[in-house]
């Protein structure tokens, strides 16, 4: 897993006067599942299209397996790709769609047929070989597209928002299916998405992109729990932001709506009375004051949403408000609206963003 497989070296891409990708330097191991996550227009799809060969980087190089592929044509790169719009060939049957790459590569007929059978079985559509794409549902079409991409045994799999056109339920089941097929084949996969939940749930590593730059590269755990920048913190997951003021630099005390919070450390630039933003995940905040939580805040419940296994509370602290998630416990009903409550968190869960 540690052998370097894909390397992007100093990639820049300019369309006219518009710089869409800046200074991308990163490398990935064989068999890794990498997600490029970011809002639309952040350059993630452009990076994927450069890896595929549909776009040429304005500067920089792309290496696959140690070989410089920057100037190879897309049809010489031996990649598999799945598109958001399925892009199945409407004139070919499901089996012929899957076998297209094999046919182009002049694979002997019996070998190709066996491979198509194998692929159909893999995606659970063994009996659908003779159908035409328009006879399938969106989820089935996308599975065929996946099988078509994998059939010629590509060196890498590129997924361009493959789940975006599907409805919520199929999206979840298909992403699990994609992940398990990917694990089984051990194929290096680049997945482009704007959906943070999708990226967090299936990736080995995530590249969070914003305005053409990579803001952070890390495992889902690192991205979620230790966001490197304000953008990553706000884009991935929900985040509470409390606007406060530095009260005492020496004692590391910050005041939020008149309540004092002692932090483990303050940024070096902190000055007395300077404004400061504290952020924390909703799940870091708990109701009441169990052991080990050194920050206690008082507030008034302004909203209670019952989400099933989880109850999300909104607590008004004054000028700030705070969301917190608590597990649904049958023995203790959630606090009522406008009730005055205490919430607490560990000061080590607080992130200070600049």
């Amino acid at each position: 897993m540690t052998e370097e497989f894909l390397r992007l070296e100093g990639i820049n891409k300019v369309f006219g006067t518009n710089k869409v990708v800046s200074d991308i330097n990163m490398s990935f191991s064989k068999g890794e599942f990498i997600s490029f996550l970011g809002p639309s227009g952040c350059g993630k799809t452009t990076i994927l299209r450069m890896i595929a060969g549909f776009e040429q980087p304005t500067s920089g190089k792309i290496f696959v397996g140690g070989q410089d592929v920057t100037h190879l044509k897309p049809n010489e790169r031996k990649l598999g790709m799945v598109f958001q719009a399925y892009a199945l060939f409407p004139n070919l049957t499901v089996a012929d769609n899957i076998g297209f790459g094999l046919k182009i590569a002049r694979t002997p007929r019996d070998q190709a047929a066996a491979r198509v059978e194998e692929m159909l079985a893999m995606i659970g559509l063994a009996k659908f070989g003779k159908r035409y794409p328009f006879e399938l549902s969106g989820g089935q079409q996308q599975r065929v597209a996946l099988a078509r991409a994998i059939a010629p045994r590509p060196t890498m799999l590129l997924l361009d928002e493959p789940l975006s056109a599907l409805d919520a339920k199929i999206r979840v089941s298909l992403r699990e299916e994609i992940r398990s097929i990917q694990r089984e084949l051990g194929i290096t996969t680049i997945f482009v998405t704007h959906d943070q939940e999708e990226a967090l749930s299936i990736s080995d590593r995530i590249v969070v992109m914003n305005a053409g730059r990579a803001e952070q590269i890390g495992t889902p755990f690192e991205i979620y729990n230790r966001p490197a920048t304000r953008f990553v913190a706000t884009f991935v997951g929900t985040l509470n932001t409390l606007e406060g003021k530095v009260q005492n630099v020496a004692d590391r005390v910050v005041s939020v709506d008149g309540q004092a919070i002692t932090l483990p450390a303050l940024p070096a630039s902190a000055q007395s009375d300077a404004p400061i933003s504290l952020t924390m995940r909703p799940e870091a905040v708990v109701l009441g004051k169990p052991n080990g939580q050194d920050v206690v805040l008082e507030g008034i419940v302004s909203d209670v949403s019952f989400l099933g296994s989880v109850i999300r509370l909104r607590v008004n602290l004054g000028s700030n408000s705070l969301s917190l998630d608590t597990f649904n416990d049958q023995r203790s009903p959630p606090p009522a609206l406008n009730e005055k409550i205490k919430v607490s968190l560990s000061s080590s869960d607080i992130l200070i963003l600049n």
Partner: protein, 263 residues
């Protein structure tokens, strides 16, 4: 509601009569070659005329060549314009419309001037050369119809994504055109082909001025010298043209699998 429906029917009947009455009159006239009784003798005369067969066969062959050459030129052009140079589309569309604006007589005089026997490309210097020139002229005449039909066909598929999907699977441009694009727009191409065929069968000006033994000049010749046979020929021409048109309808019904339905 009721009156609007009534008006719709009236409009329809007037429109239908406008087209059908002359046709029926022609048909009725074509049956009156014998005094006092209806007969199909005019049709028999026409069909047994060797120059009818010769000129008709000639036009059919020229028509088929026109279709092949037209498809070979127009399908890749429309495809690449859509894929690579969408900004050029209005310009290309304008070019394809020119044959509708420039009368055939102007076109053919231009050809004769450019390709006469003393020019660099002396197409008109030999019979086969003139046949080639005639075919190319027909390709030009059919351009507005063929291009539009093909372009409409291309609009129904996602040309760019399908091209990219085939490319990443290793296909080159020729394989993509032949295996993916053409089969998906086949119905549109065939519509264009039958329209082309209908145009070629009835064309007079160019064939006549290039002095080729085509069906159009033959129609004119018969029309100038006989009374009943031209009416029979007109009906035959109509049947051929309509046959071509209904083939378009029929084919589009027989090939539903090429239609990509939205999910």
């Amino acid at each position: 509601m009721k009156t609007s429906r009534l008006w719709a029917w009236i409009t329809f009947i007037v429109g239908a009569a406008y087209f059908l009455v002359p046709l029926l009159a022609t048909f009725e006239f074509s049956l009156r070659i014998r005094r006092g009784t209806y007969s199909l003798d005019a049709y028999a005369n026409v069909l047994s005329d060797p120059s009818f067969r010769a000129s008709f066969t000639y036009s059919v062959v020229i028509g088929l060549f026109t279709i092949v050459v037209g498809v070979l030129i127009i399908v890749p052009t429309a495809y690449f314009v859509r894929l690579r140079m969408p900004a050029l589309r209005p310009f290309v569309e304008f070019i394809t419309l020119l044959p509708l604006v420039i009368p055939a007589i102007i076109l053919v005089f231009g050809y004769i001037r450019l390709y006469n026997s003393t020019s660099i490309l002396p197409f008109t210097g030999s019979a086969i050369g003139t046949d080639i020139l005639l075919t190319l002229a027909y390709v030009t005449l059919a351009l507005p119809y063929m291009y539009r039909a093909v372009d409409t066909g291309l609009r129904t598929i996602d040309v760019r994504t399908l091209t990219e999907a085939a490319t990443i699977l290793g296909a080159n441009q020729a394989e993509i055109l032949l295996r993916i694009i053409l089969p998906n727009i086949l119905i549109a191409v065939l519509s264009g082909a039958f329209l082309t065929f209908a145009i070629v069968i009835g064309e007079f000006t160019i064939a006549s001025l290039l002095n080729r033994p085509a069906f159009g000049p033959y129609l004119q010749l018969v029309g100038a010298n006989r009374a009943y046979e031209p009416a029979a020929l007109a009906i035959i021409s109509f049947i051929i043209t309509w046959g071509a048109m209904s083939m378009i309808q029929l084919l589009s019904r027989f090939a539903p699998k090429t239609v990509a339905r939205p999910d």
